[in-house]
């Protein structure tokens, strides 16, 4: 129970920070919505951790709900790194094209 409260407090801290960033115009509306959804889902997962435990057991996994959430988080991180790699490659390609245009214009 105490662990859940600590986790919720941490999430609330990030949610308040998110609202502050939005107010200062540091993040776009889409980014704000994405991160707000992320933190709300994380908070829901912590509040309903017992239900996730039961769901995980029903799915046939031996670990607890929190382990399952960590596996999901690792998968999400891998995916985000992959997306970042692709975005960087696209930016790199665009940079080359700009360099080419500048070079041939001279």
């Amino acid at each position: 129970m105490l662990q859940q409260i600590i986790a919720i407090v941490i999430i609330l801290f990030f949610v308040f920070r998110l609202f502050a960033q939005k107010k200062k115009g540091q993040i776009s509306k889409n980014e704000f919505t994405l991160w707000l959804a992320f933190w709300l889902i994380a908070a829901a997962a912590i509040i309903f951790i017992k239900s996730i435990d039961r769901l995980v057991a029903w799915l046939g996994f031996s670990g607890s709900g929190i382990n399952f959430l960590i596996y999901l988080a690792v998968l999400a991180l891998f995916y985000l790194v992959f997306r970042l790699r692709l975005d960087l490659a696209k930016m790199d390609r665009n940079l080359t094209e700009i360099v080419r245009q500048i070079t041939l214009k001279k």
Binding site: R85, L86, A89, K90, D92, R93, L95, T96, V99, R100, I102, T103, L104, K106
Partner: protein
């Protein structure tokens, strides 16, 4: 037929003039794309009589070749020859490389170190890296050419229109070969001589080439 030779160069002030003077008699124009060199490559190339372009930052050999191709294509080239700046190819072989295009037998011609002519490859490269690269290009990429990594090539205007090099670094060699087959161009191979003055690419480059090919396949 207008023949333009494209030479990508990076820190090649010592070799570039010799290479340009050697290639001049066999082509109508030489274009050197100085890929952000820190030395006087551009000035040396200009003095030797080449048309010189300079990338403000280093972007890699593939990027420099495409810059040269864009220029050559927009200036009416019928044949574009890719030639290295490090004096490892023989300029006299340019006429062998363009003959299949002039005779109407091919749209793109790749030089090969493995068709009988002299190529003093380092042993590790000759007996280990190249055979593995050949297996990779044949089995994984489906390219049936004898030399998977050769910078000496010539292409017709049609081939230059069909093939846009997107791999800015060394993977462009495989990319050009893949696209030549994908575009159903008529492909020819010509034996060439290679004189190595320094140790070429090794395992780290081989890994990088495979990685770049995969990434560019995904972001296509």
């Amino acid at each position: 037929m207008k023949i333009i030779c494209v030479i990508p160069a990076w820190n090649e002030e010592k070799n570039i003039a010799k290479v340009i003077i050697g290639a001049k008699p066999f082509v109508d124009e030489i274009v050197v794309v100085d890929d952000g060199s820190r030395d006087n490559t551009a000035a040396a190339a200009e003095t030797a009589g080449a048309t010189v372009f300079r990338h403000p930052i280093n972007r890699g050999q593939g990027a420099a070749l495409q810059t040269g191709n864009d220029y050559a294509h927009s200036h009416g080239a019928d044949i574009i020859v890719h030639f290295d700046a490090d004096d490892q190819f023989l300029a006299t072989e340019i006429k062998d490389m363009i003959a299949p295009i002039i005779e109407g037998r091919a749209d793109i011609v790749f030089g090969s170190r493995f068709l009988g002519k002299k190529a003093n490859l380092p042993a590790v490269k000759k007996y280990l890296i190249m055979p593995l690269a050949q297996i990779f290009t044949r089995v994984i990429l489906g390219i049936k050419l004898s030399d998977p990594q050769n910078g000496f090539r010539s292409m017709s205007r049609l081939a230059a229109e069909k093939i846009k090099i997107s791999n800015r670094e060394m993977a462009h060699n495989s990319e050009i070969q893949i696209k030549a087959f994908q575009e159903k161009l008529r492909v020819a191979e010509v034996p060439i001589t290679v004189i190595y003055h320094r140790v070429g690419r090794g395992w780290s480059d081989a890994k990088k080439i495979i990685r770049d090919l995969l990434i560019h396949k995904i972001i296509k």
